[in-house]
Assembly symmetry: C2
Homo-oligomer: 149 residues x 2
């Protein structure tokens, strides 16, 4: 069996496959990347498989409905995995060295998350970016530091 089989299954289950496209703008302070992706049921399940995080708040509707979230929510780290995708779009090769995120609001299954990253500091090949994630409202704010080769 080939890895492509996982992609076929993922797609049939409603997962959104994004074409990977490098940005071409000049990398300088104030430079922004935007990236968005719909987070589906299958993404939450894939995150469970990959990480082993089967917290019922993400999988058990009956259980989750009785919590203060009043329903299932997406894993926070699934939302911020989209920040990894956003910085990977920078021209050159980006490698994460530090991340810092505050999870402000829950993200619901089926919502589209938009990531906005902005370069705030450049020191040699070390870049700092402000990183924010939005659905209808801001759900995450933070900062990442990357090496860019």
């Amino acid at each position: 069996m080939e890895l492509k089989e996982l992609e076929r299954t993922y797609t049939e289950l409603g997962g959104e496959v994004k074409k990977f496209k490098k940005e071409r703008g000049k990398i300088e302070i104030g430079y922004r990347i935007r990236y968005s992706k719909k987070i589906s049921e299958v993404d939450v399940f894939a995150f469970g498989l990959m990480s082993g995080d089967w917290n019922p708040i993400h999988f058990d509707e009956e259980f989750a409905s009785k919590t203060r979230f009043a329903g299932r929510v997406v894993h926070g780290m699934l939302t911020t995995s989209l920040v990894s995708a956003a910085v990977a779009k920078l021209s050159g090769t980006a490698v994460l060295i530090e991340t810092k995120f505050s999870y402000l609001k829950p993200v619901r299954i089926g919502e589209t998350v938009e990531v906005v990253c902005e370069i705030t500091e450049i020191k040699g090949n070390k870049y700092t970016l402000k990183a924010e994630c939005f659905t209808e409202e801001k759900v995450v704010e933070g900062e990442v530091q990357i090496l860019l080769w």
Copy 2:
């Protein structure tokens, strides 16, 4: 098609499915959780699908062999997704509110990552945990803050 189909495909492609088991120890300062999982090719591919991060440093061996990593590496955020699984094992329901990670060393495809989390602060239902990830050496260090209901 059902989500279980994704699990079958994942398993056939070599993914390690972890049974989710709650810890039963008393939640107090100094309390530790350990959790480990093998990160396979299929996990890296699943992370690509889920996030849209198709950075060639994770997928293109020829490209990656020419970088300072001298070969492909696992997405940093895939490694730290195991921290999410570790804290989910705490008794009660854990929800992330803050994370802070430093990525110290690359993780190679096929390596097993062990996560060690330790409670360092408790304020009401807000818990701070030191979080570290290891392969042969320490690959990540950081801190997470969770709400525990």
